[in-house]
């Protein structure tokens, strides 16, 4: 009987694929965002609003991750933006291989930004690098102000935080102060915008953040 030491990271294959994607995106100076949230937080609605406002000036495409259906990709395509749907079946997150496969169905030449809308889930997607520049975490008010304390993994992973459906705050017991306090104990450097995709609040700040990142990436030396 022999014991053979391996010490191999189970996700190292995913990390290698993600690194290859990142190089591919860098060569094209394409900004890539990985959108994380629970189901129903408003990721697709945010992308719809973004497409409506910026599609004329910003060349964008979307990779949609869901267990089933083309519904999200259809919503994006209805606005004239290219979208590819990945159906994960029972898979609770996207991985770098799935994104690589989706790129075979999506022409990314000449794009400014590629949004990858992950499967709605605050746990598993945090472990899987997709080659993105930034992970954008979306939390919505009706989910409750305890989400940071309960799901710190997603907040540690996040590079930018959007607090959506802020217009619903008066109808719930959500405390923005309590939420911010928890976030500051996990990642004090994490910037946050309060947002309402349906009422328009905070969208200008989101567009500004996005456009700054796009021009930084465009001017980056790859």
């Amino acid at each position: 009987m022999t014991e053979i030491k391996l010490v191999k990271n189970v996700l190292s294959k995913n990390d290698e694929l993600a690194a290859a994607l990142r190089r591919q995106f860098a060569q094209r100076r394409l900004l890539v965002l990985n959108l994380l949230s629970s189901p129903g937080s408003g990721k697709t609605t945010l992308l719809e609003q973004t497409a409506r406002t910026l599609a004329k000036s910003v060349r964008m495409a979307v990779i949609e991750g869901d267990l089933q259906t083309e519904r999200d990709a259809d919503r994006i395509r209805a606005l004239g933006v290219k979208a590819v749907q990945i159906n994960t079946g029972r898979g609770c997150h996207l991985d770098a291989a799935m994104v690589g496969n989706a790129l075979a169905r999506l022409d990314i030449d000449g794009l400014d930004v590629l949004f990858i809308e992950n499967v709605g889930n605050l746990v598993c997607p945090a472990g899987f690098d997709l080659g993105e520049d930034f992970a954008v975490l979306l939390i919505s008010v009706p989910e409750g102000d305890d989400k940071a304390a309960k799901y710190p993994i997603a907040f540690l992973k996040a590079d930018f935080l959007l607090l959506n459906k802020i217009d619903l705050a008066p109808f719930t017991n959500f405390s923005t102060e309590r939420f911010k306090m928890d976030v500051s104990r996990i990642k004090p450097t994490l910037q946050m915008i309060e947002l309402s995709c349906t009422q328009g609040k905070g969208l200008e700040d989101w567009y500004e953040w996005l456009q700054t990142r796009i021009s930084n990436k465009r001017n980056a030396t790859s």
Binding site: I4, V10, G127, I153
Partner: protein, 110 residues
């Protein structure tokens, strides 16, 4: 399930280097903060191992504690609950060192 399949893929590659040997045990390191639930992973591994013809292979799971180091003062600590600030200098410039991954630590062959 994708983690279970990834474990199998890695083991398959490693086993190919030892022709004629039989796998009897696998030791995994499960990061406290990996997002992986031991019970569910064990269930998925049972199913996937059986399909691979590895029924009966023992799986040992060791918990790898979360460990962070402060970028300001260098203090190494274990973040408690959802508090990731440095307990010594309150800095938020911390780097998580261990406890975020799942590793295959070793395999035992017969």
């Amino acid at each position: 399930m994708s983690i279970a399949l990834s474990v199998i893929e890695t083991l398959r590659e490693e086993l190919a280097r030892h022709p004629g040997r039989r796998l009897t045990k696998v030791k995994l390191g499960i990061g406290e903060f990996s997002g992986v639930e031991e019970q569910s992973l064990r269930f998925c591994l049972d199913v996937a191992f059986a399909e691979e013809g590895w029924a009966g292979v023992e799986v040992q799971m060791d918990r790898e504690l979360l460990q962070a180091v402060c970028g300001e003062c260098g203090f190494v600590f274990h973040p408690e609950e959802s508090d990731f600030l440095c307990p010594r200098c309150e800095s938020g410039e911390i780097e998580v060192r261990t406890g975020q991954s799942v590793t295959i630590d070793s395999m035992v062959l017969e």
